[in-house]
């Protein structure tokens, strides 16, 4: 058995109208909500985009500033290192001149006295049995068992220069 009794259509018409109206109202409400939510989402997305853009710009500025600072720092460091390298070159030159001057003492008339003093010192430190040999650059080296004493002129000069380093450093700090 199908269909509605005769006259039911007319009777149900208000119900249908009411249901349709309710459905349309719901559709309108959903549509309105959807539009509102869409607008809210769009607004939120817009705000987020603005935020991201602003953060990116700030980060970019920050990075650029850091990069500029770094670059400037590196240039200044290189300049400072150049000065230090020149100072060290002067120090090495002085060392070499002192070494040459010390070696030249071999031809000094006072050298035999100095040599005798060094030999005496070597024996005093390593004992009378120590083997003392004159160094080709001047001064002596001595050995006793596993101990070895270096009293060559270049070594003594280098040691003296090292001990005088505060005074010597004034030469290139001025």
């Amino acid at each position: 058995m199908t269909g509605l009794p005769t006259g039911a259509d007319a009777t149900l018409a208000p119900v249908r109208d009411s249901l349709r109206a309710a459905a349309l109202a719901t559709v309108a409400e959903i549509g309105h909500d959807a539009r509102e939510r869409g607008q809210a989402l769009l607004a939120a997305a817009g705000r987020e985009a603005d935020g991201i853009r602003a953060a990116a710009a700030a980060a970019g500025e920050d990075a650029a500033r850091s990069e500029a600072t770094m670059r400037s720092a590196r240039v200044r460091r290189q300049a400072h290192e150049t000065v230090l390298t020149q100072r060290n070159a002067l120090r090495l030159e002085l060392q070499e001149k002192v070494r040459v001057s010390a070696t030249a003492l071999r031809t000094d008339p006072r050298y035999p006295d100095l040599l005798a003093g060094l030999i005496e010192r070597a024996h005093a430190l390593l004992g009378p049995d120590a083997t003392v040999t004159e160094n080709e650059d001047g001064g002596v080296t001595a050995e006793a068992g596993s101990r070895r004493l270096d009293l060559s002129l270049p070594t003594l000069a280098a040691d003296t220069l090292a001990q005088m380093s505060p005074e010597v450093a004034d030469l290139w700090r001025r």
Binding site: D62, R74, L84, L114, L118, R121, L126, S146, L151, A169
Partner: protein
């Protein structure tokens, strides 16, 4: 015939005894063991004496660790790689290692033994001092009480550093502890005066070293920085010396030259590993995780070299950085460090993962001297109360966040939700800041008040009504 007493040559020979004894070299090598070198047939050598080790014409350096009759054990700072009996000559200096001290160090970059890396001549000074330092008479110490402003909000507001304090940074590998340490070094001032900075790098990578040099270049160019660099590929044993040289330089700059000096030592875990390596080579009985039992006193011998001395202007403030293997705060190095130092700044991977720099775990961090250095007459009247309130609220916020994970934020009370909002505000507004952003203390405390303003006023129980009326921003939730 020349008069012997007036000849320069004769005068030199008479001066020889002092110099000449240092020219005796010894070649009786008995043993090479790890970083240790055992020499025989040696007399008149003392403990901690410095030595030069000639290895086939190239110079290395050593320190005497043991003397037993005619046997002397040395630790070779550059390691014993490539050394073999027969090509070694050792000369003992007759004294512990001494370094020249003075302003000549400022602006210089040296290796972990204090030798120049910047191409310049060796550092010179009118005075030399032993690197092991002199113990400071405890009654000559002045209690630290002036604040150090770092321009970093989380430190200035919540764990205030004090002039003469030792405050370590506990971190884990991969976190920006070096960035934080260099930012402190670059920005720290006390009483409006910048610090002289001595940076001792131990076991750092070359990339990290380049970063440190770049970040601190301003200080270096201004002649306010000393860099001692022991890279990861530099000799491990050398690291034992690096912090001692740094502290010796710093002490002279502070107590003789009158400067405020900040010493940053990074990474102290690498230092402790060097101590462990030597200890193992000496076959000492290992304590926790293989570190020697004397690690505590060894670390104390470094950390206790900071402070202020009565009647002297300068100060030495130490910020050691140490990485905790696997983030384990009970590891011997952070554990023992925590016993000696006056608080700690703890960095957290979890905070870093939320994109916050510096990733300080504020609730685990503490400056034990903050009460001496902050508050009315030192920083600002409301400082201590604000810090206490910020931390208390953060603790409550952490609980609320944990609860929200279980039951959802919607099920929380209005108050708990305000705490979660507060945490977000604290992290974004107060804790998070740029790598080279310098904030004034007023700015920092203002940000703290802004964050607190997200909480209901009745929750701000640690702040007096007077402070609330004076500092709480208008129109806020709490006002």
């Amino acid at each position: 015939m020349t008069d012997r007493t007036t000849t320069p040559g004769a005068a030199d020979s008479e001066n020889l005894p002092r110099k000449a004894e240092g020219r005796i070299s010894h070649g009786d090598v008995r043993e090479l063991r790890g970083p240790l070198l055992v020499m025989g047939d040696v007399a008149g050598v003392g403990w901690d004496e410095f030595a030069s080790v000639d290895v086939a014409g190239r110079e290395r350096h050593g320190l005497v660790l043991e003397v037993d009759h005619d046997l002397v054990t040395l630790q070779v700072l550059e390691g014993t790689d490539g050394m073999a009996p027969g090509n070694i000559r050792v000369r003992f200096a007759g004294q512990p290692l001494r370094i020249p001290v003075g302003p000549g160090w400022l602006g210089r970059v040296c290796n972990g033994r204090g030798e120049p890396l910047d191409g310049g001549p060796p550092v010179t000074g009118d005075t030399t001092l032993p690197v092991s330092g002199w113990p400071l008479n405890p009654v000559h110490r002045e209690p630290p009480q002036e604040p150090v402003l770092t321009g970093i909000s989380v430190i200035d507001a919540l764990t205030t550093l004090v002039r003469g304090q030792k405050l370590p940074i506990f971190s884990v590998p991969g976190l920006p502890h070096l960035a934080l340490a260099t930012q402190i070094a670059a920005q720290a001032t006390s009483g409006g005066t910048a610090f002289r900075v001595v940076f001792a790098a131990m076991g750092l990578t070359h990339a990290d070293i380049a970063y440190v040099r770049d970040r601190l270049e301003e200080r270096s160019a201004a002649g306010e920085l000393v860099l001692l660099l022991n890279a990861a590929d530099d000799p491990v044993i050398e690291r034992i010396l690096t912090p001692r040289i740094a502290l010796t330089v710093a002490e002279h700059l502070a107590y003789t030259e009158g400067h405020d000096v900040l010493v940053i030592m990074s990474d102290m875990t690498s230092y402790a590993e060097a101590v462990r390596e030597v200890s193992a080579a000496r076959r000492e009985i290992p304590a926790r995780r293989g570190y020697p039992g004397y690690l505590y006193s060894d670390l104390a011998s470094l950390y206790e070299r900071c402070g202020r001395v009565r009647g002297q202007n300068g100060s030495v403030t130490i910020v050691p950085v140490l990485t905790m293997p696997a983030g384990d705060i009970t590891h011997p190095v952070p554990d023992l460090t925590g016993y000696i130092t006056e608080g700690q700044i703890v960095l957290s991977a979890e905070v870093a993962a939320r994109g916050i720099y510096p990733p300080v775990d504020a609730l685990s961090s503490l400056s034990r001297l903050m009460r001496s250095g902050a508050g009315a007459g030192r920083t600002r009247e409301d400082h201590l109360d604000v810090a206490a309130q910020v931390l208390a609220a953060l603790a409550r916020a952490r609980q609320a966040a944990e609860l929200a994970e279980l039951v959802g934020a919607g099920a929380l009370s209005e108050t708990d939700r305000s705490y979660i909002a507060y945490r977000g505000q604290v992290e974004s507004g107060l804790l998070n800041q740029g790598h080279d952003e310098l904030r004034s203390l007023d700015d920092t405390l203002g940000r703290a008040w802004s964050a607190l303003a997200t909480l209901p006023r009745q929750e701000l129980t640690m702040l007096s009504t007077e402070f609330l009326d004076r500092y709480l921003p208008e129109g806020s939730e709490a006002s």
